[in-house]
């Protein structure tokens, strides 16, 4: 950033907070969504930090995720393959959501609708794969929130808590996106403007963002 740009952004910062007026120059709903997302960041970070602490301090060794989440398609098990597919699905859905936001601002109702429906469909398939992963772990491997056959019993509670809470967010997101998509199609936002699509998009990108951290800390490290 050039010096002029920095001093410009500093002066807008001072302007926005110093006068007796609106501080955030964004639609009300967008500011509220951001505040919700910041608070959600705190919740997920608390979960991941409790995972960090529990993993450092268990007396038993931590189970090897790479082997537990391996999946075999007829041949030798491929490590973490399902998780990798889930990651790619979520990134794909983030891309379709970004396009939906863009077409929303262009007032292209048909494209916005279909990109949002595609995003919701990717989200739903993500939740489906998570359900498959959970049932495999519970039924075949015998992982429980209080015990598992591999090592540290906390593995189960951390896994179910973090992925469960994330899956709940994805499920809620799918419902939210479909609701907004059908309202877009009906023309609810023709007069109000299409900020709502961007607000729903913020929520969806946040769900993808949280998965980036879960993928790194819980599955890879």
């Amino acid at each position: 950033m050039s010096e002029a740009a920095i001093s410009e952004s500093n002066s807008t910062l001072v302007d926005d907070w110093s006068a007796d007026k609106q501080a955030y120059h964004v639609p009300w709903g967008k500011a509220m969504m951001w505040i919700f997302l910041v608070s959600d960041t705190f919740i997920f970070t608390c979960f991941l930090t409790s995972y960090l602490h529990v993993r450092l301090t268990t007396t038993e060794p931590w189970p090897l995720q790479s082997e537990i989440f391996a999946l075999s398609f007829g041949g030798d098990p491929i490590p973490l393959i399902l998780i990798a597919i889930m990651t790619f699905i979520l990134i794909t859905s983030s891309g379709t959501m970004a396009l939906a936001v863009n077409f929303g601002y262009r007032k292209d109702k048909v494209k916005t609708f279909w990109f949002m429906v595609a995003t919701a469909a990717f989200g739903a398939s993500f939740v489906g794969m998570q359900a498959f992963e959970w049932s495999k772990l519970i039924l075949e491997e015998g992982v429980r929130p209080w015990s598992n056959p591999f090592g540290a019993p906390q593995f189960g509670s951390i896994f179910f808590m973090i992925t469960g809470f994330h899956g709940l967010h994805v499920t809620a997101g799918v419902i939210y996106l479909l609701t907004v998509a059908f309202k877009v199609k009906k023309g609810h936002y023709d007069k109000k403007g299409y900020e709502i699509v961007e607000i729903a998009g913020l929520y969806w990108h946040f769900v993808d963002l949280v998965w980036v951290f879960i993928f790194a800390f819980f599955y890879l490290l």
Binding site: L13, G151, A216, L221
Partner: protein, 134 residues
């Protein structure tokens, strides 16, 4: 860029970031697939994670185009969390360190894997023999 115009940007940048996220995710997965271990694993996984998170927040969530007042509201408070993470890791390393030093815990113990438990074909026979012995 006034707030009334909304966050409208050329489509090209979204496609580029989209592809970049795919590439970075593939790199993360490759770290596990090629079994990179130790400090290198941590460095690579954290690097790819930070880049992915940064691009999602900056471009897909439009933070790079927002006004400074909103940017600081979004990115400022979570910085406190770094303190929490730092304190908890210091505490955690201290606890596990004292266990190893004073209580004889083996720092290099390895957990069981599904193949240890289910084994190949002969695993079942062993279990069966054990049952008969009872």
């Amino acid at each position: 860029m006034s707030a009334e115009a909304g966050q409208q940007h050329p489509l090209g940048i979204y496609y580029k970031i989209w592809i970049l996220l795919f590439v970075l995710s593939s790199f993360s997965y490759a770290v596990d697939f090629f079994e990179v271990q130790g400090g290198m694993r941590w460095a690579l996984v954290l690097l790819f994670m930070a880049l992915k998170a940064g691009f999602i927040v900056a471009i897909f969530m439009h933070v790079v185009w927002e006004r400074m007042a909103l940017v600081l509201t979004i990115l400022g408070p979570p910085l406190v969390l770094l303190l929490l993470i730092g304190l908890m890791s210091v505490e955690g390393f201290y606890i596990s360190g004292t266990r190893v030093q004073y209580m004889g815990q083996d720092p290099n113990q390895v957990a069981l894997t599904p193949s240890d438990l289910h084994g190949g074909g002969h695993g079942e026979e062993e279990e069966h023999a054990e049952e008969e012995a009872h």
